[in-house]
């Protein structure tokens, strides 16, 4: 994770994905959410529901690492995932979109706000869309959380796409 004057302190990525299979059970997890009221007509809170088709799921968590405090926010929509990472920061950062594209489902990534196609954020977005990861601390934690929440495809034969 880049830090410093010219580095990226926060990154957000919108990740397109296939529809999640119905009936896939997610481990129930309560996420800390402070400062948000819950006045809703249909109640959708931060608790991950037991089944996929419960609507919007928001997962927020923070972890201390060697680089400082990492903040993660995952918003799961029915056909898309939005993920935000902040490193010692709650700034929005740069926004990227990544998704499999035709003809052979190669993942393409584009910068939507700020950023470029060759820096940390775009790489994370692309690899999240591929559902593989490198050893970067923040990305590793985010990928692990996505696996725990059941948002990733199961590995096939262990070879990376």
């Amino acid at each position: 994770m880049e830090t410093g004057g010219g580095g990226l302190n926060a990154a957000a990525a919108a990740i397109g994905m296939e529809s999640i299979p119905d009936g896939l059970r997610i481990a129930e997890e309560e996420t800390p959410s402070t400062g948000s009221s819950q006045s809703q007509i249909n109640h959708n809170n931060n608790r991950v529901c037991g089944y996929i088709d419960c609507g919007v799921h928001i997962t927020c968590f923070s972890e201390v690492s060697d680089n400082g405090t990492l903040h993660f926010q995952i918003i799961r929509l029915h056909k898309q995932i939005y993920a935000w990472i902040g490193c010692n920061s709650a700034k929005f950062g740069h926004l990227y979109a990544a998704a499999p594209t035709r003809p052979n489902n190669t993942v393409s990534v584009t910068s939507l706000l700020g950023g470029a196609s060759d820096n940390t954020g775009s790489g994370i977005a692309r690899r999240l869309a591929l559902k593989t990861g490198l050893n970067a601390d923040a990305e590793k934690k985010l990928v692990q959380k996505l696996i725990n929440l059941g948002y990733t495809r199961p590995k096939s034969d262990g070879t990376s796409p």
Binding site: A14, V56, I58, E63, V64, I75, Q80, W84
Partner: protein
């Protein structure tokens, strides 16, 4: 050693709700970052068209705003108008933070308020 932070407030506040609009279930998510607001309103299960709206720096007493589509439909002027209205309301409420607005709507027609 890595450790989870329990008991500390998450730095990004958010609120989410679900409403019915003309028979379509609409999920609305509001997030407050230090330097941006993110608003998602979707009926289609994805973020849809993403717009960026910000107040422009200037010395005029009448603020001006810049709205652009950064992803999705660029031929739906009502989406831009929606972002423009929201950023002006936010500015009038005292906030100068830019807005990232994601609209995934089934119907882009304007509904006259009763």
């Amino acid at each position: 050693m890595d450790s989870s932070l329990s008991g500390q407030a998450f730095p990004v506040r958010h609120k989410n709700l679900s409403v019915d609009i003309k028979g379509h279930k609409t999920d609305i998510i509001l997030c407050s970052y230090d330097d941006h607001f993110l608003v998602i309103a979707t009926q289609i299960g994805s973020m849809g068209t993403i717009l960026h709206a910000r107040k422009e720096e200037g010395v005029s007493i009448h603020p001006t705003f810049n709205v652009s589509v950064v992803f999705g439909k660029r031929d739906e002027p009502m989406l831009v108008a929606c972002a423009r209205q929201l950023i002006e309301h936010m500015s009038n409420s005292g906030s100068s933070r830019p807005l990232v607005l994601a609209l995934g709507l089934r119907d882009h027609s304007v509904v006259q308020s009763q």
